[in-house]
Symmetry: C2
Subunit: 238 residues, 2 copies
Amino acid sequence: MINKKSPVPIYYQLEEWLRGEIDKGELLEGDLIPSERALSEKYEISRMTIRQAVSNLVNEGLLTREKGKGTFVAKKKVEQPLIRLTGFSEDMKQRGMEPGTKRLDFIQLDLPPSISKELRVETYSKGYQMKRLRLADGLPMAYEVLTLPKTLFPDLTPEKFDHSFYEYVESLGLKIGGAEQSIEPAISKEESALLNIERGSPVLLMKRVSYLGDGTPFEFVKSIYRGDRYKFITEMKR
Amino acid sequence: MINKKSPVPIYYQLEEWLRGEIDKGELLEGDLIPSERALSEKYEISRMTIRQAVSNLVNEGLLTREKGKGTFVAKKKVEQPLIRLTGFSEDMKQRGMEPGTKRLDFIQLDLPPSISKELRVETYSKGYQMKRLRLADGLPMAYEVLTLPKTLFPDLTPEKFDHSFYEYVESLGLKIGGAEQSIEPAISKEESALLNIERGSPVLLMKRVSYLGDGTPFEFVKSIYRGDRYKFITEMKR
DNA sequence: ACATGATAGTTGTCTATACCACTATACTTT
DNA sequence: AAAGTATAGTGGTATAGACAACTATCATGT
């Protein structure tokens, strides 16, 4: 179980073993693990080495120490990132609705300053633009204009958007980092007909720039959401 | 500098000292700190104890070790929590505007179902309600209605809101956990005059329930923000 | 000029030991 | 029965020493 001759450090072998026991369910949440002295004697390893392994796992949040009592398997916290970057489809599924899409337009264009600035590419360099109507449970939810720089996606076809576009990006070996998004209220204008609402109804205007892991912007999205069907929800921590 | 007789652990004193040197700017980003052996000899402390202090700071991300080279002051990452719960005043300051407040009303009331449900208290139990006009750089920015349960704040006076209300809550020994907030677009109605906008202008309707560390709701806020002056901005990670 | 090797200095790993502070339990005293 | 007291077991802190693995530099040899 522990091989002292191995070039793999003993403390690391111990870590892996403990991680395994927890993964396999041999050790359950709240369980007391063997004391440092017990492990030290059993495997004939110095207690300081045991402590190194345990300390690392404590730092990772897998174990918790209690003075005078022992070391326990920590309750696993489901802590998900406060806001996870998701596309329209994932968003709708989370809200329990069936996402749908109606493609309106897909063109190649020279990026105007308003967009090239956001994507941080040269003005009037090539890009793709897709206009779509987004549906939820079959009814119009949002009108979306998505622009991408051709530098990052040389050969783009509209079919690439049929499934999760973010997954497609990741399948190209690109790492998605995050996004910055702004939301403001507006009054519906010419998109009213598409969204099937009355002209002058309240809508949410959302602009989003998404970044790769290295900070390179890779998409600029401008969406108009129906105010009567969509609420933007956030969680915050102090 | 290091007191071996102190009940404060030596490794912790060392941590504090190093943290201080970095804070004060004696050690700059990328600087090489004295080697473990050097510190060990200088302060006549065992190298393992030095390592414990350094390891903790490495775990915190303040230092980085490089085998065969030394230990360096890490480049500080500005990584702030994705969304931090802030009140109006903090929010405006972050946006570089001077926050202001005009108190409109402060009453005691029996909480109607729509509010008691959010605060998870008994319907028609006592509560406080404050109505305020929020200013940024002297101009109206939002109209806000804030409701609190009397159970948590038995003796509340409007003066308590003059400075940061969240800090006041924390000064009572309560721990603020976080909040859930929804945002939707709307068309301004009777509050138009207060906000100094035309009736029918786009506004953001924001509802927020804030929770203590144990999950107990402690405030319900309904705000109406001027759409021409306020954008809601979020960052997301994948 | 270039490769090789020696060397000193760094962090990484590991041992054996010691004492302290805290917790729970069993035992004793009141 | 209650209160106090020992005691064994736990993690927390600290020491001194050893060797390994890695990096940079300098001296040496070709």
